[in-house]
């Protein structure tokens, strides 16, 4: 399976993401620079990695969401290509309008960098097929702006449609309804603040994140 990772100026989890994808697919992903205007042909998924794209200027993810490559990502997402946004990637996807809501400063104002317990809410999605609904997993988080915000009507809708993929099982950042990861309406775009790509082998302290990539590759027929 051919995959791609978008790289913005200020991305810093792009290499972690590349390692995770290579381990699971057996093939190094294509690293796509933000100024490119097209995604590589024949990819099965694209990842928008964590970091501090454009130094979080204006708002976290705001500048990256308007960079040339994101038009191609939005176009491909509209055609059903799986898109995974982690941390800053989640912020970019909300800023690009591919996911609902917004990510604001953590309610404690502090940068939170530690392992957190999550509950898998929806185990039916392409990204969560290898988890059980209600399962407790542990992923690292490392963010300052992870406080998920949306109006009540939006929150009710995404809850009702089963689009909450992961929920925090402990206080982390003040996110509305403890939402840690959310799917788009078609289920092919997932944004999440915790880092599955940093939890893919025993040396990372566990492999809970590896199943996200394995499940996705299985679902898309890699």
């Amino acid at each position: 399976m051919k995959t791609a990772v978008i790289v913005f100026p200020g991305s810093n989890c792009d290499r972690d993401m590349a390692v995770a994808l290579e381990q699971v697919t057996g093939r190094a992903p294509v690293m796509v620079w933000h100024r490119d205007t097209a995604l590589p042909a024949g990819i099965g998924m694209v990842a928008v990695p964590g970091g501090f794209s454009y130094g979080d200027y204006l708002r976290a993810g705001a500048m990256a969401a308007r960079s040339p490559i994101m038009a191609a990502v939005a176009d491909a997402a509209g055609k059903g290509l799986p898109v995974l946004g982690v941390c800053n990637g989640f912020q970019v996807l909300t800023e690009a309008g591919l996911l609902p809501g917004a990510l604001m400063r953590n309610n404690g104002l502090d940068f939170v960098c530690r392992d957190v317990a999550l509950t898998v809410e929806n185990a039916q999605s392409a990204f969560t097929a290898r988890y059980a609904a209600g399962e407790r997993v542990s992923f690292p988080v490392a963010h300052h702006d992870g406080n998920f915000v949306a109006d009540d009507a939006t929150l009710d809708r995404i809850e009702g449609e089963g689009r909450v993929a992961f929920r925090y099982a402990e206080p982390v950042n003040g996110s509305a309804r403890a939402i840690a990861g959310v799917l788009n309406d078609a289920g092919n775009v997932l944004g999440m603040m915790p880092h599955p790509e940093r939890r893919i082998e025993a040396a990372h302290g566990g492999a809970d994140g590896r199943r996200l990539f394995e499940g996705l590759m299985e679902t898309i027929g890699a």
Binding site: G101, M104, L109
Partner: protein
């Protein structure tokens, strides 16, 4: 033409930074501060005659995130 774009959080959106400022002011002994909200001021220099609709589009497409923020355009 000089523009001042005021970007503010929508009512009801919690503002942890504003809360911290409110508490800090109380800590400095200023009584009666009932609230603090943090926004942004963006100064733009645009060509004379730039259409209001274009200015509005700039705000909607980039300067403000209308999920959480309101904006107000002030022409200097």
């Amino acid at each position: 033409m000089k523009l001042r774009i005021h970007v503010t959080l929508k009512p009801g959106v919690l503002d942890p930074q504003g809360k911290a400022i409110e508490h800090a002011l109380a800590g400095l002994g200023f009584a009666g501060v009932n609230g603090a909200r943090v926004g942004k001021l963006i100064e733009l220099d645009v060509a004379d005659g730039t259409a209001d609709a274009d200015i509005d589009s700039m705000c909607r497409q980039l300067l403000a995130n209308t999920v959480i923020e309101n904006y107000r355009v002030e022409k200097a």
